[in-house]
């Protein structure tokens, strides 16, 4: 958690942490150049002479944003869809879940690529596209949880009081379903970041001069032998961040259930 906060803070403060702008080359240095402390190129420079440290931090911004927003999108769609399907049950639930099954079986990459091709490489599009794919599993999880919560007596009690169906979903079912959902969220974020990195690796991700870790890693991989630092630093950041999220996910799962002690 602490490490993650550090990374987030760094990402936010990126511009003020280094004298170098992220999109202009340092003409006075190698293209690319290894880390050089005196010149304050802590991570070195890339093939276009831009400071890697700054770019890594900017990349952090993008990657984290993608992760969080895409996951939030999937959360919203998934929770509503899953809770409704689970709550209504019966044939409606069946139909809704079959739709999920069908969408699930379609090749995701294909879609994203299609979307990219049709609508251009807009960063918001990436958010939406990734979110739109991730919600499927979220919906399944939420539906499963809803089904088990629905049977509990306090839901029956709510019916007996006369609480309306929407209020039941909102006040009774969703709060009790959130546990696994939040855990899953913290696991989805790294997944989304990875996917975005993969897309960038393929060249389908963020556009220049914006960068993300995926882009950086992609570029770094190409120059792995001659300028290893281009790959190493972004990769380390990515790995650490993913690890942090997974760790938090585990911790949250343990902490969120007060009565499971």
């Amino acid at each position: 958690m602490a490490i993650l906060s550090v990374i987030v803070i760094l990402a936010v403060l990126a511009p003020s942490l280094s004298p170098w702008p992220f999109d202009e080359p340092d003409w006075g240095y190698d293209f690319p150049g290894p880390p050089n402390v005196e010149l304050k190129h802590w991570f070195g420079t890339d093939g276009n002479g831009r400071d890697l440290f700054v770019r890594t931090l900017y990349g952090a911004r993008i990657s984290l944003l993608v992760g969080i927003i895409a996951t939030s999108v999937s959360l919203l769609i998934g929770v509503t869809y899953g809770a409704t399907a689970g709550f209504i049950g019966g044939r409606v639930d069946n139909v809704m879940m079959r739709i999920v099954d069908i969408l699930y079986s379609l090749p995701f990459m294909f879609f994203v690529i299609l979307l990219m091709v049709f609508f251009g490489r807009n960063i918001f599009l990436i958010f939406v596209a990734l979110g739109a794919v991730e919600w499927l599993t979220m919906a399944r999880i939420v539906r499963g949880q809803t089904l088990s919560v629905k049977k509990k007596e306090f839901i029956e009690a709510a019916h007996a009081i006369g609480v309306s169906n929407w209020k039941i979903i909102y006040r009774h079912i969703i709060p009790n379903v959130l546990g696994p959902v939040i855990v899953y969220m913290t696991l989805t974020i790294p997944q989304v970041i990875l996917t975005e990195s993969f897309l960038s690796f393929l060249g389908l991700g963020v556009q220049e001069p914006l960068t993300s870790w995926g882009v950086l890693i992609s570029e770094g991989a190409k120059q792995m032998e001659s300028a290893p630092w281009l790959l190493v630093f972004p990769a380390i950041f990515l790995a650490i961040t993913l690890f942090c999220f997974n760790f938090i996910g585990d911790g949250l799962r343990d902490a969120l259930d007060p009565k499971d002690r």
Partner: protein, 336 residues
């Protein structure tokens, strides 16, 4: 414990006629029909103001389903439920909202009936937010505190969560929630079965006390005949979804007429070694038949010591045999 509270009003507040609740269960095989599980198969009774009707029976008798069928938490397959002269059977959730103020329920599992993510203050207040939304949060809180005190909970615990309380206290929370709208009828579905013996008496006293103060009518569902004897005015004995016998409390225990009632009463262990060891127990042979294929005619005949041919051909009708006692048996007057 007599019916003097209701002496002024001779009309029943609740009238149930021919109530049936069937659950459709798909039979085995690809093209089989739906076989109905006959949880409740034709029940009639009346309930008077201020009265407690005990509903007893063993597993599969349909007593819990009956409770929910009355409250329309489960939709009756057939039959009528008259509340204060109005038909409420088959009403939708929306149509039932007005009645929810008057008809409430207390559940068997104290902890499971409370939303673990809500404070008990919110849990008890929820009925108020649904039915009296015009109340200010302050007024609501005040009412909740008063009700908490009334049921024996410390008002300062209002912001605690259910898992911080013991079983007995959780049941008090359930009672508070059921009482806060000052209903006229409460269905008590095995309210003390999940509690320790030393706590059961506390909750039973509480329910009785509330009944006396508020003039409540209760349908008290339980498998425990000793508790039911203590709290009921009249008692209905169920078996496999059918009524076997209804009688005033004292009559039922002193002169039970139905063979099932007799077997049930004799099976209850008495905490008195001399009596218990000498007791002549009427042991029922066999197993409970499946509610998917109940026996023809009288459903009890497969285990009944008095069963004859007529019992398999003709289902006995609930007949009044005098002094508020009704029995459904062809041989109720058979003397030992």
């Amino acid at each position: 414990m007599n019916r003097e509270n209701g002496a002024n009003d001779n009309r029943p507040i609740l009238s149930v006629r021919g109530l049936k609740v069937y659950f459709p269960i798909v039979g085995s095989g690809l093209f089989s029909k739906m076989i109905p599980l006959k949880a409740v198969d034709g029940i009639d009774f009346d309930l008077y103001p201020g009265e407690t009707l005990g509903v007893v029976g063993e597993s599969g008798c349909g007593k819990s389903t009956l409770g929910r069928g009355i409250l329309q938490l489960l939709e009756p397959t057939e039959g009528t439920v008259l509340w204060l002269g109005e038909h409420i059977e088959g009403l939708s959730a929306k149509e039932m909202i007005g009645y929810r103020k008057q008809l409430q329920i207390i559940f068997q599992d104290p902890l499971a009936s409370l939303n673990p993510r809500m404070t008990i203050g919110d849990i008890i207040a929820e009925p108020l937010t649904v039915h009296y939304p015009e109340l200010s949060p302050e007024d609501r809180k005040q009412k909740v505190r008063e009700m908490m005190e009334r049921v024996g909970l410390l008002p300062l615990m209002i912001n605690r969560y259910p898992h911080e309380f013991s079983g007995g206290q959780c049941q008090r929370i359930g009672v508070a929630r059921a009482m806060i709208l000052e209903p006229k009828l409460i269905i008590c579905d095995e309210p003390v079965s999940a509690l320790d013996v030393s706590i059961q008496a506390q909750i039973i006293n509480l329910i009785k006390d509330l009944q006396d103060s508020f003039g409540l009518s209760l349908v008290f569902i339980s498998h425990d005949l000793s508790i039911v004897r203590h709290i009921s005015h009249r008692i209905m004995v169920l078996y496999l979804g059918n009524t076997m016998e209804i009688a005033d409390r004292d009559t039922l225990y002193s002169t039970p007429r139905h063979p099932y009632t007799r077997a049930l009463i004799s099976a209850v262990p008495i905490p008195d070694p001399k009596l218990e060891k000498k007791k002549q127990r009427l042991v029922l042979e066999g197993d409970l038949p499946s509610p998917l294929s109940p026996p023809s005619g009288c459903v009890f005949r497969t285990r009944c010591p008095l069963a004859q041919d007529v019992c398999s051909r003709q289902k006995p009708v609930l007949k009044e045999i005098g002094a508020g006692q009704q029995v459904a048996c062809h041989f109720w007057d058979w003397q030992e």
